[in-house]
């Protein structure tokens, strides 16, 4: 390998990633606080009241970024799963394990805020809309992954089995989404259209993007701190962990 490229594999070793993660966490925490703070301020005080949906629409600033994150995180987990299977790196599996609870949390948040949004807008907590249904199924997929990882004691097997499940899931997601969509249009017709994206005021769009970036930073910060715990737990018998200054007392 020539010198001009960064040796990415250096950080695929838990021993060198652990301190790097430790150094990155404060930065991402700060970015999270700033972005979500600004985003919440904009969404509550600056964004204008929607002429049709009233004040209740403000929930969109949490709902849409959470829904985006729920989908992105599954893709990132699948990416790490593929990396883990291809390069046989331990850290990749730890990353997908660390991301899973955050992904499930965002999926739940999207469903929950969606219900709160649906009640005033559509008059019902839940409709069997294609997006809601596939979000619910995504939540099941997260829970399945977490349950599988939890059920296997042997970490090596848990990593590989989880990775395989993620890859199977990622192949299935488009199939599930389109079948649910088709099922939905056959059953009740497209009575609800959520495609307000193009007509959205730019301040609303910007607020939503700021919130989404804040959620990204939050995800990274939380996943890094969780991956540090996982590293410590798994490598507790190794020399470098015993020599860590924060553990030496």
């Amino acid at each position: 390998m020539n010198n001009s490229t960064i040796n990415w594999f250096k950080y695929s070793s838990p021993a060198s990633f652990y301190p790097l993660a430790g150094r990155l966490i404060p930065w991402f925490t700060a970015i999270t606080v700033i972005l979500i703070g600004v985003g919440l301020f904009l969404s509550f005080f600056v964004a204008p009241t929607d002429y049709k949906q009233g004040e209740g629409y403000r929930i969109i600033f949490v709902h849409v970024p959470a829904a985006w994150m729920s989908m992105f995180i599954y893709l990132i987990m699948a990416f790490w799963a593929a990396m883990g299977l291809i390069f046989n790196t331990r850290l990749s599996a730890m990353m997908s394990q660390a991301l899973a609870p955050t992904g499930a949390m965002f999926t739940f948040l999207a469903l929950w805020t969606g219900a709160f949004w649906g009640k005033p807008m559509w008059g019902t907590w839940w409709v069997w809309d294609a997006r809601l249904t596939s979000e619910l199924i995504l939540f099941f997929l997260y829970i399945g992954f977490i349950a599988l990882q939890g059920a296997i004691d042997d970490t090596r097997r848990a990593d590989k089995a989880g990775a395989l499940l993620l890859l199977v899931g990622v192949v299935n997601i488009p199939i599930i989404y389109f079948s649910v969509k088709w099922w939905n249009t056959l059953h009740q017709g497209a009575s609800i259209s959520m495609s307000t994206g193009s007509s959205m005021a730019s301040i609303m769009l910007n607020t939503m993007l700021i919130m989404a970036l804040g959620f990204w930073a939050y995800t990274i910060a939380v996943a890094l701190s969780r991956v540090r715990s996982i590293i410590l737990e798994r490598e507790k018998d190794s020399q470098w962990v015993r020599e860590l200054p924060e553990l030496k007392q």
């Binding site: 099941f140 829970i143 399945g144 349950a147 097997r157 890859l167 199977v168 199939i175 079948s179």
Partner: protein, 222 residues
């Protein structure tokens, strides 16, 4: 290679015939679940006719899933599976053979019996045929997809609860198009589109699922 496939199918079928209670438990599970719904919902034929496709398909999903536990577990416990994985023949064929035998034992009887049970729901002749056809097309896909879950949870504590959690979300497209075909037929729309989709899912899972299952078996048997 085809000879290996036949040998595995023959072996699994012989084993299944020796332990006949396994075959019948999945079948009777299906029958009982289907018969329970009218008791819970009420005997109005109009309602029953409407819910019949969904009820039959959900019952088939559950019956096929219950039988998954036995797919690899017995061979795994006595070490046969490991020996099979050590043979020079590709795992793909092994998985395909076992899944095919599993389908013959659990899927086919269910599909053949469904029209008879459909009479209880006052379905007309044509929806009954569609129901049988969708079950014949859909249950092999269920066995193929379910095999991934069965292979991943091999030898785990509480795998009985884990398999539904892993497998049921992946079953959803089959459920949608299977029940949708019958429903489309009942409402006079024509089931062709649904049947094509169901066949597409079957073909896709026929190609992709055995590879994933073989990989999962290697992970579990390591």
């Amino acid at each position: 290679m085809f000879r290996i496939f036949l040998a595995i199918v023959q072996r699994d079928l012989t084993l299944a015939l020796r332990r006949r209670s396994d075959i019948f438990s999945a079948l009777f599970f299906f029958i009982i679940v289907v018969s329970l719904f009218p008791l819970g919902i009420g005997p109005e034929l109009d309602t029953l006719r409407q819910i019949a496709p969904g009820v039959f398909w959900v019952a088939a999903l559950l019956a096929s899933m219950l039988a998954l536990e036995k797919l690899f577990a017995v061979d795994f416990e006595d070490g046969t599976l490991e020996q099979m994985l050590l043979t020079p023949q590709p795992d793909f064929i092994l998985v395909l053979g076992k899944v095919f035998a599993h389908w013959l034992v659990t899927g086919v009887p269910l599909a053949l019996l469904a029209p008879l049970l459909g009479l209880q729901y006052d379905l007309a002749a044509e929806p009954l045929w569609t129901l049988m056809l969708t079950l014949l097309l859909g249950t092999p896909a269920l066995s193929l997809i379910g095999a991934i879950g069965a292979a991943l949870t091999l030898g785990l504590r509480g795998s009985g609860v884990l398999v539904p959690l892993l497998v049921l979300p992946l079953y959803i497209p089959v459920l949608i198009f299977g029940a949708g075909a019958v429903e489309a037929n009942v409402s006079g729309l024509g089931a062709a589109g649904h049947l094509y989709m169901l066949s597409a899912i079957l073909l896709l899972s026929l190609v992709a699922a055995p590879i994933a299952t073989a990989a999962a078996l290697r992970i579990s048997a390591e």
